[in-house]
């Protein structure tokens, strides 16, 4: 905005040395700040370079199509691997997790900011945040030993009612994508709730009063003032949650039944995500070529997560234009 009203030295931004005095403290601090920035950027670059360097030889040797094959055969001398089913299981498990977690998170965030009495809202919010403090291995064990028995009847019901639809086709698998999705939903609930709660809380009182003065009920006020204002924030919160669900490893590895060689579109199938395939395959990291196959899978996950975060970033940027 300052550029409209005039130009001052301070507007020039952090690029130049205009404000630097050349004193020792200034030089040390600027070197530290610049160094940290360069370090992080080069770290990301190096990770990408490492993944590429390790993956490319295996990809060159791969006799199956990397993107469309469902095979995963990495025994020495005969490399045939593709990521088609990994991509499907990773994406569908995360999408189902989102479908469960986002509505609940929005509901909880609305309750905490618009409905709950103030003195109750704070402890309740901390309780939700505590969900994020539970280690993922604990979620895995809990899902395996406790939740599975509760999810089983639900699955049986959905299978009998909607089994004709490929996504709900009945299969005899104990560790299903559906079960993993529910656990993932619980794991990403805190981050989505926390960010949604913050944006809903920032709804200007003027907008809420405008709705109330028109004769809106509490829910109508939420619908006309709070939700439209918070929408971009909720979207970016969901993207952050999605990023986490895509990469979650240990809980998913524990929960999903490995069913190599068979593939189904059903959410009640087993399978492996990128992360769980890599974890399950750790015994095969003995030659560079085999390892490279897994690293290639990791590279795809890296790109996928990066893309999701980029989308979240774009949405947050768009939101800035709205709030000014």
């Amino acid at each position: 905005m300052t550029s409209i009203t005039g130009h001052s030295e301070a507007d020039a931004g952090p690029s130049g040395d205009m404000a630097a005095t050349g004193r020792v403290g200034d030089r040390v601090f600027s070197a530290l700040a610049t160094g940290s920035g360069v370090f992080v950027v080069s770290l990301i670059g190096l990770v990408a370079a490492f993944l590429l360097a390790q993956a490319v030889p295996s990809l060159m040797d791969n006799k199956a199509s990397f993107l469309t094959s469902r095979e995963w055969q990495v025994s020495a001398g005969d490399l045939r691997f593709g990521i088609a089913d990994l991509l499907w299981v990773t994406v569908i498990s995360s999408v189902i997790a989102m479908a469960i977690a986002v509505p609940i998170a929005i509901g909880v965030a609305l309750f905490l900011t618009q409905y709950a009495p103030r003195r109750l809202a704070r402890p309740f919010a901390s309780l939700i945040d505590l969900l994020a403090a539970v280690p993922s291995i604990v979620y895995g064990i809990w899902g395996y030993f406790v939740l599975r028995d509760f999810v089983q009847p639900v699955q049986t019901f959905v299978e009998s009612a909607l089994g004709w639809f490929p996504l709900f086709a009945p299969l005899t698998v104990s560790g299903t994508i559906f079960l993993a999705s529910i656990v993932l939903a619980i794991m990403i609930l805190p981050i989505i709730t926390a960010i949604s709660r913050e944006v809903f809380d920032q709804t200007p009182a003027a907008h809420k009063e405008a709705a109330l003065a028109l004769g809106a009920t509490r829910w109508e006020m939420v619908r006309t003032a709070v939700l439209p204002f918070g929408k971009p924030g909720v979207i970016s919160a969901s993207m952050l949650g999605l990023g986490r669900a895509l990469g979650e490893t240990i809980a998913v590895t524990l929960l999903l039944s490995v069913t190599r060689g068979t593939f189904s579109w059903s959410a009640f199938a087993g399978g492996e995500t990128f992360a769980s395939r890599i974890a399950n395959g750790s015994a095969e990291f003995d030659t560079p070529l085999k390892t490279g196959a897994y690293i290639a899978a990791g590279l795809v996950l890296f790109v996928l997560t990066f893309a999701v975060n980029a989308v979240a970033r774009i949405v947050i940027e768009r939101r800035k234009a709205f709030s000014e």
Partner: protein, 258 residues
Amino acid sequence: MAQRIDVKDLNVYYGAFKAVEDVSMSIEPRTVTAFIGPSGCGKSTFLRTLNRMHEVIAGGRVEGTVALNGRDLYSKDIDPVAVRRTVGMVFQRPNPFPTMSIFDNVAAGLRLNGVKTKAVLAEAVERSLKGANLWNEVKDRLDKPGAGLSGGQQQRLCIARAIAVEPQVLLMDEPCSALDPISTLAIEDLIDEIKQQYTIVIVTHNMQQAARVSDRTAFFNLAATGKPGRLIEMGDTAKIFSNPTEKATEDYISGRFG
């Protein structure tokens, strides 16, 4: 359409703090009544009790009665939401819904009332925007965001939004304090026009404005900081500004304090 308001022995509280004490007054239909007084004297607080917006703030409550055409707004069987549909409000800062278009802003209240028919909405939006003297300026860009208008236009948009639901009473809480003189003039002309149809109550810090737009003026004051505000005097605007009964009123309007 316009209705009278009778307030009797009203005390207004924020939790344990008494903000306004013992106000009784009558507001006639199709008149403009101005509330004046120094900051903190409770005039805005009192205004907000007339459509139960006061209760939106935690701890807000009242004692006494506010009757709209004889019906007590605070009786147990009255829903505050229904009150706000009958008694509209315009705020100090223009507050159009930022994510909505001009059309949707004006239609918001009608949609809350369950009006869905496109033709009915379009007709009401045009009528309200014309009523708020904004139609000619925005008729070609009804689908553009309301937040893109100038401050004065936004405030007239908010007035259009308030009158779209055809309220009985229109409350205005310092509607021009964030506007430039030209926009202020536009709003004042508008008030003069719409008082044919509505009962209007306006809070203002600008005494010339009170003198210009209102038929009746009520002066509020408080004895000291932390004490509740009180209604000192109410009467015809001409009398209040030329020959007030109370010394405090005279001191205030002649600029000796406040």
